[in-house]
Amino acid sequence: MDATTKFDLPQGTLDLLILRVVALGPIHGYAIAQRIQQISRNALQVQQGSLYPALHRLQYKKLLTAKWAESETGRDAKFYELTARGRAQLKSETESWGRLTDVVALFLEDPQGELS
């Protein structure tokens, strides 16, 4: 996939991606954006204008906590970490996402041709 091919994430999916990335360990906003880009093989480029409001919203919902710590470059950065609540949320959302995609796949693959 080309790095310039971008698409809009379905509503709420960004939150799930962020939770998933942060689940790997304490991480700052810049690295989250990088990580999402890497994992999606450049398919997703999260804009700062979406990333930070989402991070803050998750933090206010107490799914993430944040603390300031020294980053790899020696500057102070805000590191996000999953709370117990965030972990539970990630688990349940992963499951429901899985169910959703399975169901959607049933329709799209349509082996029996019931829809036609």
Partner: protein, 870 residues
């Protein structure tokens, strides 16, 4: 981080946000430089991907959920600034609102205190008032004998318990000696379980013990809080000590709490200093003595208790053939008994202040409309620059809210002052008044009223305003744009005038009723007559009593300035008592009423109180215990017992033992109320009856202060134990009797005046505004030759047109309203033409004045100046 922290730590959050984004930015720059860009290129590229740092920040702020607070705060700051600039507008708006809200909150507190709040007793909802004789007649009719009280208390299934007190306070008043001047204390005799049943706990000491409530028991007394404060300066050491009452040492066992107001609940305007347990055996043979309060069993209604009483009590009565009275009784909830008769008046009062609030709101709407019109350009500009309509409406609503809050704050202060004033009005015969206060429910009411007012007066202008077409308004002068506003403003003024008209007519009818009440021929002359309670020791012997009182009156009459003097044991419109009177030879019928009010008097009392002897002779000192018993009757008694005959010399049963002879007829005296008709009355010579104490009535042109010294010295010369008592003007009794009506008339009248003022302000505002708007037009007309008089006339005609439409609507509504308050009127028809005419005239006059001021301004417009400007 909680919402509150986010709100209050926003500065810190801003710094962190900035730092976080800056870190991201720098990382990106570093990344770009690693990819081979120069520092400048890297920064530029990064800035592009960020797509507006401020937008990102704004979105992050939005995620905090506190942004609306900030924007409301902005609105508030802006509004406060503009209000401060428009100081005159703000002051008038806040004043109008404060008056409207203050009156509403004050009246709500009254209604709450008197009607809504439960009585300050334990189980208040279950307390019931048990009145004899179906609750009708004099105190002697509605009270019970001790035997009857004990029987119904024993047999009643509906009541868990009953208690009683003696409402004949003349018997229970006590003379306190032994410390300073002898004084008469206002005492109340209560049954032993009175306080426990009402759930009153003493503030100090204890209640009565059982051995203090039986015949021959240890004498004990409880003090009222007010008396304890007044007489003993609130000294707690008095508890356990003895005081001398009626020459007997009585132990003070406790002090009642300040919140217990016996008079306020049971006998408005009556003071109660001390409470004594009355042994039932002491008053068993005294006849009807007890007022009974019952505590209903849980779940039993007043109606069920009444149903039981209708069945069971006649059976009890049947078992006691020796009782002289029937046990027909009326049971009402205690609260209903205390304040039920005031419900209608209070509701009228409540409606009156509601109208005031409506007028105030209409006025404010008008003010805001005028203001909005003046600001239409500002709003058009903002709307053209992209402000959303909802944002503009919100700002206008916030403005109303700010005004309403300020109005409420001042209104509460006004209400507090009114309630404080009213609760200090001791002698008003309204129950529970002293406990009126601004409490939580009044505050809640304020919020509700202010909220409703905000919506009412804020919505109209804001919807109007936000809907303006920016293009129209921004054009220099939209000639036609004002018309729609004008119609709206005119409608508001018309409704104000109509509301004020209703208020004025209602108040006018009540006022006229009050004047009628003042005009009632009471049958005696209250002015220049004064009463003083005298103490005499006759040892219970009538002959000795005659000698003492004859000498006392002789000495008092000899004093300079005294025109007449006499003694009666009871005064009209004060305490009363009733016996039976049945003409000799008239067949007795069970269904007929034989009650007469009885006064035991000395010769000369008629002159002193100012009653008129119509026929026959007055009582003489020669009518003694040994001479044939005689009585005076009033015309009502003569009409009932000897209709169409000359009653002089006739004989009757019911007074004393056996027959008494009528020696004279006096004119009717209003004995129990000013407004009710006079009832049959009988006057018994003091030498032939047993007086309950004595009230010396003197008639004099001198001021009571000038009389007090000499009269008191004379009384002391006869009886050194004569307590120091006040001179009571007889007028005070009348004033007390009509005080509820005076109270309501005063309040409703004040509110009507307020309504009139507000309506006139409204008229003035609208006319004055339209004159300002038409300055140019008027200028042109004057330049073309219109005279000053013609311009003035035009403005005045316009004013009157508004006023007349309002009055027409108002008069129609008044007829309907007046029919609703008909039962509150006295001697006045609800459609009283004089009242209607006067009030209409008053309104037209006020409207004329309100229109004349702008009219005069219009006529002084200088055409040159008017045409030059704009």
């Amino acid at each position: 981080m909680s919402w509150w922290q986010r709100l209050f730590l926003s500065k810190q959050l801003e710094q962190e946000l900035d730092k976080e984004l800056r870190f991201h930015f720098e990382q990106q720059v570093a990344e770009n430089m690693r990819a081979g860009m120069t520092d400048e290129q890297a920064r530029r590229a990064t800035r592009l991907t960020f797509g507006g740092l401020n937008q990102v920040k704004e979105d992050c702020r939005e995620s905090r959920g506190t942004l609306w607070v900030t924007s409301v705060a902005q609105d508030l700051r802006f509004i406060l600034r503009t209000l401060r600039r428009d100081r005159a507008f703000t002051m008038i708006a806040v004043l109008i609102l404060a008056l409207g809200i203050g009156a509403n909150v004050a009246v709500f507190s009254l209604v709450d205190t008197i009607l809504l709040r439960p009585l300050p007793f334990h189980n208040a909802q279950r307390l019931a008032w048990i009145a004899g004789n179906n609750g009708a007649g004099a105190l002697s009719d509605t009270t019970f004998r001790v035997d009857a009280y004990e029987e119904i208390r024993r047999h009643s299934q509906s009541f868990q318990d009953m208690t009683a007190y003696v409402p004949f306070f003349a018997s229970s008043d006590a003379k306190m000696t032994g410390s300073g001047e002898p004084r008469v204390l206002a005492g109340v005799w209560v049954a032993g379980n009175f306080f426990p049943m009402l759930g009153i706990q003493p503030q100090l000491g204890r209640l009565f013990t059982p051995e203090e409530t039986v015949k021959g028991g240890r004498p004990a007394v409880l003090l009222s809080y007010a008396f304890w404060q007044r007489r003993f300066s609130g000294n707690p050491a008095i508890v356990g000590q003895a005081i001398t009452l009626n020459n007997r040492a009585v132990t003070v066992v406790g002090v009642l709490p300040a919140g217990f107001d016996f008079g306020g609940v049971f006998h408005p305007g009556v003071r109660a200093d001390i409470f004594t347990p009355v042994p039932m055996d002491d008053i068993r043979t005294w006849g009807h003595m007890l007022s009974i309060i019952g505590l209903l069993k849980p779940g039993v209604t007043v109606r069920q208790a009444q149903a039981e009483a209708d069945v069971v009590y006649p059976q009890i009565r049947a078992a006691h053939p020796d009782w002289t009275t029937d046990l027909t009784m009326k049971i009402t909830g205690l609260k209903e008994h205390v304040s039920g008769h005031l419900r209608r008046s209070l509701i009228v009062l409540w409606c009156a202040v509601g109208l005031i609030l409506l007028i105030a709101c209409a006025n404010l709407s008008n003010l805001l409309l005028a203001r909005a019109a003046a600001r239409s350009k500002e709003f058009a500009m903002r709307s053209a620059l992209g402000a959303r309509r909802s944002r503009l409406v919100r700002q206008l609503l916030t403005e109303s809210l700010v005004l309403a809050s300020m109005g409420s704050a001042f209104g509460l202060a006004i209400a507090y002052a009114i309630i404080l004033y009213l609760s200090r009005q001791g002698p008003i015969a309204l129950p529970l008044l002293s406990s009126a206060r601004i409490d939580a429910s009044a505050l809640a009411w304020t919020l509700l009223v202010a909220g409703a007012a905000t919506v009412f007066f804020g919505v109209v202008p804001s919807v109007r305003m936000s809907g303006v077409n920016p293009q129209e308004s921004l054009k220099d002068r939209g000639a036609g744009s004002g018309r729609k506003h004008d119609r709206m403003r005119a409608a508001l003024v018309v409704s104000e005038v109509a509301l004020a008209c209703v208020l004025l007519v209602g108040a006018g009818l009540l006022l006229r009723s009050f004047l009628r009440v003042l005009d009632v021929d009471l049958g005696f002359e209250p002015s220049h007559a004064y009463a003083v309670k005298v103490d005499f020791d006759d040892g219970g012997k009538a002959a000795r009593r005659g000698a003492i009182l004859e000498e006392m009156l002789r000495r008092v009459r000899a004093l300079p300035g005294i025109e007449a003097a006499g003694i009666s044991d009871k005064l009209p419109l004060d305490r009363n008592r009733s016996w039976d009177l049945l003409a000799k030879g008239k067949p007795y019928s069970k269904t007929e009423n034989y009650d007469v009010f009885v006064y035991i008097v000395t010769p000369g009392y008629l002159d002193a109180i100012g009653m008129h002897l119509r026929q026959g002779r007055d009582i003489h000192w020669s009518d003694t215990a040994t001479s044939p018993p005689v009585i005076l009757i009033n015309e009502a008694a003569a009409r009932r017992e000897w209709p169409g005959q000359d009653p002089i010399g006739r004989e009757a049963y019911g007074i004393g033992n056996g027959l008494t002879r009528v020696i004279g007829v006096v004119s009717d005296v209003h004995e129990s109320s000013v407004e009710g008709a006079a009832n049959p009355e009988v006057f018994v010579p003091i030498t032939q009856g047993n007086p309950e104490g004595g009230e010396l009535v003197v008639r004099s042109k001198l001021a009571p202060a000038a009389l007090a010294g000499s009269v008191m010295t004379t009384l002391r010369s006869m009886n050194p134990g004569q307590p120091a008592v006040e001179f009571r003007p007889i007028q005070q009794l009348v004033d007390h009797a009509i005080s509820p009506r005076r109270f309501f008339v005063l309040l409703v009248g004040t509110f009507a005046g307020l309504g009139l003022l507000l309506a006139s302000l409204g008229i003035y505002g609208v006319i004055s505004y339209s004159v300002t708007q038409q300055t140019q037009e008027i200028g042109i007309r004057m330049a073309l030759g219109a005279t000053q008089a013609r311009v003035q006339l035009g403005v005045i005609v316009r004013t009157l047109k508004l006023a007349f439409i309002g009055i027409a609507v108002g008069v129609g509504a008044s007829f309907a309203i007046a029919a609703l308050i008909a039962s509150l009127l006295f001697g006045t028809s609800p459609a009283d033409p004089i009242t209607f005419a006067c009030m209409i005239l008053l309104l037209v006059t006020v409207a004329l004045i309100a229109g004349y001021l702008p009219a005069r301004r219009a006529s002084r417009i200088d055409p040159i100046v008017a045409l030059r400007c704009n």
